[in-house]
Amino acid sequence: MSTPMIDIKNLKKSFGNKIVLSNMNLSVKKGESLVIIGGSGSGKSVMLKCILGLLHPDSGTIHVDGQDIVQMGSRGRKRILDKIGMLFQGAALFDSLKVWENVAFGLIQGQGLNKKDAKEIAVEKLGRVGLTADVGELSPAELSGGMQKRVGLARAIAGDPEIIFFDEPTTGLDPIMADVINDLIVECVKDLGATTLTITHDMASAHKIADRVAMLYHGEIIWEGDKARIENSGNPYVEQFVSGSAQGPIQMDLMKN
């Protein structure tokens, strides 16, 4: 068996006395698309930030492509980050730059490509997500939410990454645009042959892009399995989440008080 692309062991992270990740274990095989589902505040974003090195975990190890990124220096981490693309929840486009400069940012700053070549690639990637070259000349603030997400996707795939993270790719979009984004994600990932890790609470999106699904609850993975098994997981937490019911073992914070 080959080493997993992402391997998380006993990851713990707390802020003050609030435990966000209690003991998380997860591994993603090369070329696999894993979707992590879980409610708000279940620690999904914190987990992603730990993998990206934006947050330092309290304990545990995270291996990306066989290398432990928790102990790694900044130069090694930069090499790992070069292999990673990320689509942020709010797209996180740089509003001081034009759309094409956003897409080309990693190519110019990270890989040192010259402006002309980078722009060519940027326009090609924009075409990949269904946007024309003249959209590239606009500023991000002039775009609708769905278009911003597409630009964010183009930026994430611009460097032909081996690993892509999607942070709630469909949040804030109408169901049709959400489906368009899901299709684009599936296509782009297939083209690149990338390993992907998606966090979402949108079950339609999970159905579409996942090979495998894992559920995060109170900082732990409480269930994981193939997409086909999600409807009859036998796990009451997963069943409640999938059916979207207020009744069940998962109690929202507002009910506790």
Binding site: K49, L52, G53, L54, S74, K78, L81, D82, I84, G85, M86, F88, Q89, G90, A92, L93, F94, D95, F105, G106, Q109, G110, Q111, R155
Partner: protein
């Protein structure tokens, strides 16, 4: 009722850890100023934003202050028939203290707040995280250019402020108070020493550093949406003001304490 010692202790611990965070932030930021890659285009852009756009407000502040100063010194000095000290006192007051301090405060009001708001918004919209995922160090890309630009731009602004401040005094002195223009300039030149100008430039550079540092620090570390950004903006301006006034006092005591 809580034990007052607990409250005092908590406040002191909170202040110490804030200073620790600020110190680490400063050390990281400064270390990135000297390590390549250096983003010249961004430095130029920031110098334009900080310098050129602050010229009107800094210039007017200095002009009006110099003029008001000349009027007051004339009124005060006339009690002892000492109207002739007006040019000397104006130039010393402007170059040593008012030019750099008022200029620094005006720029802090404009620039620290703008930096904190911009970086704070980038923080809450995850743009700063996005930089990291695109293999770009936010300290290098966002903070180092701001620090460098401010340190080099403020002395130029203060130089302009000093000249306009003296000119304000000159205008009131010659047009309203009946002082002789040629002798006004002569006295000004006689009173002004090279050390005054140097200390003025050093102060300006230090103030520029604090202006960019406070704007960046509070913006970079802002939390919690629009309200957090608003708080960061206020804190940036207030802390930049305090840093400017305190460092001004320290530099003044070091440079001019010996002479007296």
């Amino acid at each position: 009722m809580k034990n007052p010692l607990v409250i005092v202790g908590r406040i002191i611990l909170g202040a110490l850890s804030e200073f620790g965070r600020l110190f680490i932030f400063t050390a990281t930021a400064v270390s990135h100023v000297f390590r390549p890659p250096i983003y010249w285009r961004l430095i130029g852009q920031q110098m334009w934003l900080i310098g050129y756009n602050s010229l009107p407000v800094v210039g007017l502040t200095a002009l009006f202050t110099g003029a008001a100063l000349a009027q007051q010194i004339f009124v005060g000095g006339s009690r002892f028939n000492a109207e002739s000290v007006v040019p000397g006192v104006v130039v010393i007051a402007i170059v040593r203290e008012l030019g750099p301090v008022l200029g620094g405060l005006m720029v802090a009001g404009r620039v620290s707040s703008a930096m904190a708001a911009e970086l704070g918004t980038m923080r809450v919209t995850e743009q700063i995280d996005a930089l990291t995922t695109l293999s770009t160090d936010p300290f290098k890309y966002l903070i180092a250019p701001r620090l460098l630009a401010a340190v080099f731009t403020l002395p130029m602004l203060v130089l302009v402020a000093n000249i306009l401040g003296v000119m304000g005094g000159f205008l009131i002195g010659t047009e309203r108070l009946g002082l002789n223009g040629a002798s006004y300039l002569q006295v000004t030149a006689d009173f002004l020493e090279r050390a005054d100008v140097y200390s003025s430039m050093v102060k300006a550079g230090v103030f520029g550093f604090f202006i960019a540092l406070m704007g960046s620090y509070h913006g970079y570390n802002s939390r919690g949406g629009a309200q957090g950004v608003g708080k960061a903006t206020t804190n940036a301006v207030v802390s930049a003001f305090i840093a400017i006034l305190l460092s001004n006092l320290i530099i003044t005591v070091i440079v001019f304490g010996e002479i007296s």
